[in-house]
């Protein structure tokens, strides 16, 4: 009897703890969603709730930002910052489509190349930050500018093409669920697992909280930060691969067009990760990304500011307000409809 009572109490605290461990940003997400769904019902055609394609589009549009934001979360927890993700995304998109040239046989080699390139950028970032002791903001700004210069000097616009089979990444579905959403969720899970269930995660929080204390406790702080930067760059590569599979060809403007650097930092911070490091998590970031998605969708019909909220070139036709002014839109609508 006593044992059972104890057990139920344990269950109770477990439940309470797990509710507490939900980042508060999820409540904010619910509020934002409810608010904009209501506004959508009143001021617009109310398709946000009735048309499942729109909901799906909000989520898919969040995938690109979400993957890189999860990497950014790692870096921010380590009290660092990564502004170079934008051009890692551009470099990935250009290099992958340049090496694929529309031939499925080239896919593995292209993917390997872009992952190596991304890892090298992350490694360089981490090494400069830790070994030369340069502020992370300046370092990654610098590497970002260097990548921008190189990529813009070597490629003008679309380079190469992605084979049809590669588009499965962006457009494929398993049952009703898009593959991209599965990828986002699995990356979120991996990130959550690394941060909360592995030694590296604990060390990363320690380094972000106080580098000096972590170092004096015997951690190799430099190595941990470098690994965090490599992880961040690799997630940027994944985002680049996803975006290029949506657009079907890579171009240097893809990264800056999506403002992935600032938006990934903003979503991470909205998700409760401190810019000063040592606090936060991946789940909050996911909520932040969804908040951005809802806002990005809702601002258009409600505020009728089609230009203040820019469209991605790969927005679906269901995404209202985009086809009017985006140069790629008409092509989008004809060519890249949902399967």
């Amino acid at each position: 009897m006593l044992k059972a009572n104890n057990l139920s109490q344990n269950n109770h605290t477990w439940l309470r703890n797990s509710i507490r461990s939900i980042p508060p940003v999820f409540y904010f997400l619910i509020i934002v969603f409810a608010l904009f769904a209501t506004l959508d019902q009143i001021f617009a055609d109310g398709q946000m709730l009735t048309n499942p394609n729109i909901m799906m589009n909000i989520i898919i549009r969040g995938v690109a930002l979400g993957i890189v934001a999860i990497g950014q979360t790692f870096v921010l927890i380590g009290a660092s910052i990564d502004l170079s993700v934008v051009y890692v995304i551009s470099v990935t998109s250009v290099l992958s489509s340049y090496f694929m040239q529309g031939d499925p046989a080239n896919v593995p080699i292209a993917v390997i190349i872009v992952f190596i390139a991304g890892a090298i950028v992350g490694l360089i970032n981490g090494l400069i930050i830790t070994k030369l002791k340069i502020n992370a903001f300046i370092t990654t700004l610098g590497t970002s500018l260097i990548l921008k210069g190189i990529i813009n000097a070597s490629f003008q616009n679309f380079a190469g093409e992605v084979p049809r089979s590669f588009e499965v990444l962006g457009y494929g579905r398993i049952g009703p669920i898009p593959i991209s959403v599965i990828i986002l969720l699995s990356i979120t899970f991996i990130g959550w697992f690394i941060l909360t269930r592995t030694r590296f995660g604990a060390h990363l929080y320690a380094v972000g909280g106080n580098v000096e204390v972590a170092r004096l406790s015997g951690l190799r702080t430099d190595r941990i930060l470098i690994i965090a930067h490599v992880i961040c760059s690799i997630t940027a590569v994944l985002t680049g691969l996803f975006v290029v599979s949506r657009i079907r060809a890579g171009a240097p403007w893809i990264g800056p067009d999506g403002v992935y650097d600032l938006e990934s930092i903003a979503t991470t911070v909205i998700g409760g990760t401190a810019l000063s490091g040592g606090r936060g998590g991946v789940l909050g970031t996911l909520a932040g990304v969804l908040i951005f998605g809802v806002l990005g969708y809702s601002v258009q019909p409600i505020g009728s500011q089609p230009l203040s909220q820019e469209c991605h070139p790969w927005d679906d036709c269901h995404y209202r307000g985009c086809q009017l002014h985006h140069p790629f839109k008409t092509r989008n609508c004809i060519k890249w409809r949902y399967p």
Binding site: N135, G142, A153, L262, V269, L275, L307
Partner: protein, 331 residues
């Protein structure tokens, strides 16, 4: 006996020179070297006319860098200056309405907007405790959105001549120099004003102290909130001034002001300003901007493609900060 004296004199001179070299911020020799190379490659830069052209073109960056330095020194960032320039250009194109007599009302309104944006930035950083990176990033997006919304997506009309006068006007028949650009006068006024308040007044000393340790300076009586807010207001107002100058040179363009915040931060950092606060100087920040512009000119003169400007800018930033941190560690 005599040779010994001479020798000791020489060693004294050398040590003096060493001390002097250590004391001079590295930005001045860097600028001098780059500018001499530029002058060697292009004879235009050997005349007063050419040098004034160069200074005229780099004055908006210099003004932005000085404004940015005020914020950097207190330990913040101001990323909103670039889109503030866009807003100034777009907004004044509408406010002017091709009517020269509306110049003063237009200037008053855009400066009012600048002060307002600076106050909002400062308020949210100091009272709402939002990190300045996030605040000004949000402001960047909001201001760009506002500029687009106000003008319906693109600038309208053209600037009247009396508005463009600030950027491209000259004072004719000045002794010695010939023609003296008005934008350089604006830069000098901004420079002396900021030099006074940063290096000669309590404000500057407190700002440096806050950047070093906000808590300690609060406890020793500095008004941390007021000074932080003022630094944001100064940065925004200087951005408005830079916007007016940019409008004078190039007229209106869709992309004007984009990336200006990055250039301003780079210039301030090249000028020895330390991010997260505590160190900075107005003349160095100004020369940081000149160095950056001279570097861009050099890239142009060497015939490299324009995108390499970015790559070189990135290398310079990392190099400058690496040099500064290396020097600090040796101390």
């Amino acid at each position: 006996m005599k040779t010994d004296q001479v020798k000791s004199q020489i060693t004294r001179l050398i040590t003096l020179l060493k001390v002097f070299i250590k004391k001079v911020p590295p930005v001045y020799p860097t600028f001098l070297v780059i500018f001499i190379i530029v002058g060697y490659l292009n004879p235009n830069y050997r005349t007063f006319e050419g040098i004034f052209q160069f200074l005229r073109r780099s004055s908006p960056t210099a003004i932005l860098a000085i404004g940015q330095m005020f914020v950097l020194v207190t330990g913040g960032f101001d990323l909103s200056v670039g889109s503030l320039i866009s807003l100034v250009l777009f907004g004044s194109s509408i406010l002017l309405g091709n009517d020269p007599s509306k110049l003063y009302s237009t200037l008053a309104i855009i400066f009012g907007i600048g002060v307002l944006i600076g106050l909002i930035n400062g308020f949210s950083v100091t009272f709402l405790k939002v990190p300045s990176f996030i605040t000004t990033l949000g402001m960047l997006l909001a201001v760009r959105g506002a500029a687009m919304y106000w003008t319906g997506g693109g600038p309208k009309g053209y600037f009247t001549d009396n508005f463009r006068m600030f950027g491209r006007g000259y004072i004719e028949n000045v002794p010695i120099f010939g023609r003296f650009p008005i934008s350089l006068i604006v830069l000098l006024v901004v420079f002396f004003f900021s030099y006074y308040i940063f290096h000669k007044s309590n404000f500057g000393k407190s700002a440096l102290a806050i950047g070093d340790n906000a808590r300690a300076s609060h406890l020793s009586g500095a008004n941390v909130r007021l000074i932080r807010m003022l630094s944001f207001v100064i940065s925004s107002v200087f951005a408005v001034i830079a916007g007016v100058l940019v409008g004078g040179f190039g007229g209106i363009s869709q992309t004007a002001g984009q990336g200006a915040e990055i250039q301003a931060i780079s210039a301030a950092v090249i000028g020895g300003t330390i991010l997260m606060g505590g160190k900075g100087s107005i003349p160095s920040a100004m020369f940081g901007a000149f160095t950056l512009e001279a570097m861009f000119n050099l890239i142009n003169l060497l015939g490299l493609p324009k995108p390499y400007q970015d790559a070189v800018q990135g290398l310079i930033i990392i190099g400058a900060v690496a040099f500064a941190s290396f020097k600090n560690r040796r101390k």
